[in-house]
Each structure stands twice: as structure tokens, then as C-alpha cells.
């Protein structure tokens, strides 16, 4: 089966960055923003400032950023319950996101959606989604819409290894393929769906990407901890889709450092091992990109930590903004049921 899959060779951490300095810096900034944002989310959860639960994306930053850097503002994404990374990578503002997480009116969704439903229609972010596999058809529909309106927009459908077992994938992949729609099925394989290893519940030989072949579309596996590789792979497939050549499947191999949600404190005590987590952390996408930028003379250590600083304070500001922001008025509860 694996014959039909393209396995992107991992780029060596010593290899030179061939993209412009500012371009790399921007990817770096986005990844760090995600990391800091998620750390802040964990903090406000601990402090009891965030109602409900949220699913941290820490560790997977290269996947969202590599993919979304290959997209235009008017391209679409559908996201998941673990959506903060996708949203920030696609241009989402951390202050409005943070306000949403706290249920405030200044939030993207006026506090009515919370972490699992953040959307920004103006940025093509069709929404995070609380239903695993719920975005498959929607992304395909966005692709159909682009094709019918004769734009060259592309739709990326983010989903996890767990979601690959929802029937909605088959149906969406099939339609995207027969109609040659500009849809990229972007499977973030972080090895677990909640507390269950994907190996125990996913019938594959080696890669989830093997399933794409059954829908006559190209399938690629790429190191999801390498933002440059993810960007280059996605770029290539986005071009392909824009040119009218139809959908594809990309599997990013990645890992979430934290638990399934903010309340899943110590996965290493239950469903996974400390060795595994430690190993994946050695491939940290942020550290790797920083190292390559410094090595390649694109930035000094100081410049990198300046970026880190400025993002840290932007996120702090977002938290402050969200804390200060008012809750929606009680009367709003009956608004927006209909347009």
C-alpha cells in the first residue's frame, strides 16, 4: 500500500533554510504565539477563569503553521475541537480568541461558542468543531462552492487520527475526488484520540494516508514537527488544487505534549509513556526552527528571544483584555438563533 504514498523525506536540521528571513520569522512567530497562547489557556483554566474545558495544541504547532502559511486569506479551513493552533495560524487574533474562551462579548463569537466553536468568517475560518469528523463535509462544500463560483480558493479540512475513523471521511473524500474539488484533507496524526492509541482502533498498515488511495487521490506523509517540510508539502498540493487538479490527503506525524484537554493532567501516568513524550519533545518544532534560523544566520539568539518576548507580552495583553471584557448582556441569549 505504502507504494502509493509519498513519504516526504525529513529535512535535516542542519540544512539551510531556503525561504526568506521574514518568511521564516513569521512562521516562527506564529508557532510561538500558539505555544504561548496555549500555556496561557492552561493558566486561566487553573485559575478558574475559563469555563469548560479546552484542548491544547502544544507540540503540534508546525502542522497548523506549515499548512496555513501555504494558504491565502481567502482560502478556507475547517478546524476541530483542538483548534486554537489552526485559528492562530490562519490569522486569528489572540485577544478575541482569549475573550471567547472566557465567554466574553468581545470574543470572536460574542462568548456564545467558546473554545470549540471559534470562527472568523472574514478569514475563511469556518469554525472549530465539537463534533469529531464534523468538518469533513463542510470543507468539501467550501471546495465545491469555490469551484462553482469559479474562484481559485482552496479548502483545508483539519482532522485528527481519531476522526479518520468517522464515516464522514469516506463520504467527503469520495465527493471531493469525483468532483475534483480543491480540498486538502489534512490529517494530524498525534497518535491518540483522547486516551486511546490510534494503533488500537485504526486498521492501517502503517499510515492513515493509506486510506486516500481508495478515493483515487494523492497521499503524502510528512514530519509534522518540521514546519518547513509541512509548508513546502502543503504549498505544492495547494498549487495543485488551485490548478483544478482535485483533492489530496496529507498526514502530518505530530504529537501533543499535553493531555487530551486541560484537565487531563498526566497522560504519562496512564495511556502513554514518559519515553515517548520525551522523544517527541526532542523534535520540538519551535526549537528546531529557531536553531536553523540562528545557524543559518537569519537571526541572532537575541533576535529570537526578542520575538519570544514580544509574543509573550502580546499574549499577556490578550489575557488582560479578555479578563476586563464584559460578558454578553443577558438579553443576548435569544439573539442569533436565526440570522
Amino acid at each position: 500500500m505504502s507504494d502509493d504514498i509519498e513519504i516526504v523525506q525529513p529535512s535535516s536540521d542542519d540544512s539551510e533554510l531556503t525561504h526568506p528571513r521574514e518568511f521564516c520569522a513569521e512562521m516562527y512567530r506564529k508557532m510561538v504565539t500558539i505555544r504561548r497562547f496555549e500555556e496561557a489557556v492552561l493558566e486561566i483554566y487553573q485559575q478558574g477563569l475559563m469555563p469548560g474545558l479546552a484542548h491544547p495544541y502544544i507540540g503540534q504547532e508546525a502542522s497548523a503553521v506549515g499548512v496555513c502559511t501555504a494558504l491565502r486569506d481567502d482560502d478556507y479551513i475547517t478546524s476541530t475541537h483542538r483548534g486554537h493552533g489552526h485559528l492562530i495560524a490562519k490569522g486569528g487574533q489572540v485577544d478575541r480568541m482569549m475573550a471567547e474562551m472566557m465567554g466574553k462579548e468581545a470574543g470572536y463569537n460574542r462568548g456564545k461558542g467558546g473554545t470549540m466553536h471559534i470562527a472568523d468568517m472574514s478569514l475563511g475560518i469556518l469554525g472549530a468543531n465539537g463534533i469529531v469528523g464534523g468538518g469533513m463535509g463542510m470543507a468539501t462544500g467550501a471546495g465545491l462552492s469555490a469551484q462553482m463560483r469559479e474562484t481559485d480558493q482552496v479548502a483545508v479540512c483539519f482532522f485528527g487520527d481519531g476522526a479518520a475513523n468517522q464515516g464522514s471521511f469516506l463520504e467527503a473524500a469520495n465527493m471531493a475526488s469525483i468532483w475534483s474539488l480543491p480540498v486538502i484533507f489534512l490529517c494530524e496524526n498525534n497518535l491518540y484520540g483522547e486516551y486511546t492509541s490510534h494503533r488500537d482502533v485504526t486498521a492501517i498498515k502503517e499510515h492513515i494516508a493509506e486510506r486516500a488511495a481508495g478515493y483515487n487521490m494523492p497521499a503524502i506523509v510528512v514530519d509534522g514537527m518540521d514546519v518547513v517540510a509541512v509548508y513546502e508539502t502543503t504549498s505544492r498540493m495547494v498549487e495543485n488544487a488551485r490548478a483544478g487538479n482535485g483533492p489530496c490527503f496529507i498526514e502530518t506525524k505530530t504529537y501533543r505534549y499535553r493531555g487530551h484537554h486541560v484537565g487531563d493532567g498526566n497522560p504519562e501516568k496512564t495511556y502513554r509513556t514518559q519515553e515517548e513524550t520525551d522523544l517527541w519533545k526532542t523534535r520540538d518544532p519551535i526549537t528546531r526552527l529557531a536553531r536553523r534560523m540562528v545557524k543559518g544566520g537569519m537571526a541572532t539568539e537575541e533576535e529570537v528571544s526578542e520575538i519570544d518576548q514580544s509574543i509573550q507580552s502580546a499574549v499577556e495583553h490578550a489575557v488582560e483584555f479578555a479578563k476586563q471584557a464584559p460578558f454578553p448582556e443577558k438579553g443576548e441569549v435569544t439573539e442569533h438563533v436565526y440570522v
Partner: protein, 332 residues
């Protein structure tokens, strides 16, 4: 507005509504299983493919959940899809996309998302199609905030409401009784015939009893009314036309006038449409009622295949008449 009328069937009303709206607005398109070349299994969309081609009249794979999702995604991004789910029974497969996505997106996004999606599907037993092709499950959707639920009973209402649905910026589902596709009725000429969503219609005026009836039950109620008139009982037939949002005023006004009410719907009797409307009346017209509000719905059994059994599971004229009679006995 044109005033002259033409006679068309319930099925033709579907075709006219879709084709007129497609001519008017190029973002409207129609998709479903076997809807294009074949014109749909009930043949009501025959001819659309010839006029609009395979891009805008689109045959889909057999993937109800998927095509509903595609509808939601297209609606979110500038199109106005009309999605057909052949039998209402198959809505069971597509519920997540309608209920958890389409119906909630506007609200969950604080008003950002618009989902101008129209869903057409069928209800109605009586064709010996057995338990998986005969259900009238519209009560489920009426239970869900965020989706408008239409249930027209005449060609004119169907045409005008389907056109309104397509123009509406919200998800709208329209239930067509498959037994009525060949029912004929007068429809105003011209492509500007719209029937507002959320407005009930008094299908017959009367003074003694109100029958609130939906879809094909309206026809039954009208003929029961004819019979009862000969006995000297004057029946008012109110057709809600829209279940959600429900035009409670028209219903209550009628009952306050007549003091008696029966609610008839072809969905299963329990936990369905009749319970909602009957309890509304019993509450808000409490002081006006001379008799308890009666309810008639499908018998609470899976629809049987055998022609010796199936008819008895659906309300019929005799049952309506005896329900009316009982209201006089009850208080006598």
C-alpha cells in the same frame, strides 16, 4: 403580484420553485441522489437537469451525511444549496450536520455565520413502503432551534414556501408528503409568488370546532369538515404551514372563537407535533375550551407493510369525525 392562476400538481410546484429561484439567483443549486438525469425518484425534478446542466443540478453519491455536510459548507461560503434527502427516513443519517452544524452555526458564532441551506425531504405513509420508507419524522426538526420547519399542504403553499426557503438566510427544511405529489391545486401565475415562513393559513372558516392539521392531514380535515357541515357542525381548518417558528396567534385566535380543538399530524402520535400544539392550546386558551383538545397522529408502531394493516396506522376521516363527535359527548 399577478392575480391569475394556473392548476399544477404538488410535484410541479417543487420543480417550478427550484427552477424559478435558480434563474433568479445563480448561487442557487440543487443536489441529491438521482435528482439530475433521472429527475428524482418521484420525478418531481425532471427537466431541471436539461435546463441547468450537471453543475447546478448535481447527482450525488449515496452519502446522506456527506451531502448534507457539503450543503452546509457551500451555504457558509456564498452558495444557496438545495439538498434533497429522498426519503425523510434517511434524515436519520444526516442529523448531525443539520442539528449540530447548520442549525447552530449562526448562534454559536455570535451571528457571523449564515447558512442559507434548504433541505427538501419527504414524509407520509400509505404506499406499502414499510417501516423504513414511510415515516413522518418532522417533529424531530421542529424540536431543534435554529432550523425553520415547513410542512405545506397545497401546491400553492409548497411553491411559495419553497421559494421563500431558498431566499431565506437560515437553514430551512421542507417536508413534502410523497402521497401528495400528484395532488392538483391552483397556483398564482408568475415567478413572484411567495408564501411567508411562519404564517399559518385558515384553509376553511368555521365556528364550532377548530381542526389544526398539517400536510396531507389538511385534505382529510377539509373533507371531514364537509361531512360534519351536513350534521350542522361548522369546522374551521387551520394549517400552520410552518412548524417552527409556529404562528401561535392564528391557532389560538381560532380556538378562542370555536372553543374546541383537534390537532392532526401524520407523525407518530407520541412526543410529536400534536403534543406541542395541543398543549399550547390547552394552556393559552384554557378559559375558552368547552372540551379537551384531542390529538390524532400516526399509531405508535413501525409502519407495517401489509395493506391489511398499514391504513389503520394513519389518521383517517372517520377518526376525525368521531373525535369531533366525542367532544360533544364529553361535555354533554
Amino acid at each position: 403580484m399577478s392575480t391569475s392562476e394556473r392548476e399544477i400538481t404538488f410535484g410541479e410546484a417543487v420543480r417550478e420553485a427550484i427552477s424559478e429561484e435558480m434563474r433568479r439567483d445563480e448561487t442557487v443549486f440543487f443536489m441529491g441522489e438521482d435528482v439530475a438525469v433521472a429527475g428524482g425518484v418521484f420525478k418531481v425534478t425532471a427537466g431541471l437537469y436539461e435546463e441547468f446542466g450537471s453543475k447546478r443540478i448535481r447527482d450525488t453519491p449515496i452519502s446522506e451525511a456527506g451531502i448534507m455536510g457539503v450543503g452546509v459548507g457551500a451555504a457558509l461560503t456564498g452558495m444557496r444549496p438545495v439538498v434533497e434527502i429522498m426519503f425523510g427516513d434517511f434524515m436519520t443519517i444526516a442529523m448531525d450536520q443539520v442539528v449540530n452544524q447548520a442549525a447552530k452555526l449562526c448562534y454559536m458564532t455570535g451571528g457571523q455565520a449564515r447558512v442559507p441551506l434548504t433541505i427538501r425531504t419527504t414524509i407520509g405513509a400509505g404506499r406499502s413502503s414499510a417501516a423504513q420508507h414511510s415515516q413522518s419524522l418532522h417533529a424531530w426538526m421542529a424540536h431543534i432551534p435554529g432550523v425553520k420547519v415547513l410542512i405545506p399542504s397545497t401546491p400553492a403553499d409548497l411553491k411559495g414556501m419553497l421559494k421563500s426557503a431558498i431566499r431565506d438566510d437560515n437553514p430551512v427544511i421542507i417536508y413534502e408528503d410523497k402521497m401528495m405529489y400528484s395532488l392538483k391545486g391552483m397556483v398564482p401565475e408568475g415567478d413572484d409568488h411567495l408564501v411567508p415562513i411562519g404564517k399559518a393559513d385558515i384553509k376553511r372558516e368555521g365556528t364550532d370546532v377548530t381542526i389544526v392539521a398539517t400536510s396531507s392531514m389538511v385534505q382529510l380535515a377539509l373533507s371531514a369538515a364537509d361531512t360534519l357541515e351536513q350534521e350542522g357542525i361548522s369546522v374551521e381548518v387551520v394549517d400552520p404551514r410552518t412548524l417552527s417558528p409556529l404562528d401561535t396567534d392564528t391557532i389560538l385566535q381560532s380556538v378562542r372563537k370555536t372553543s374546541r380543538a383537534i390537532v392532526i399530524d401524520e407523525g407518530y402520535r407520541s412526543y410529536g407535533v400534536t403534543g406541542e400544539i395541543a398543549s399550547l392550546i390547552a394552556d393559552e386558551a384554557f378559559d375558552y375550551l368547552d372540551a379537551p383538545v384531542k390529538r390524532l397522529g400516526a399509531m405508535d408502531v413501525p409502519v407495517p407493510f401489509s395493506p391489511s394493516l398499514e391504513p389503520s396506522t394513519i389518521p383517517n376521516e372517520a377518526a376525525i369525525i368521531s373525535a369531533v363527535h366525542s367532544m360533544y359527548r364529553d361535555v354533554a
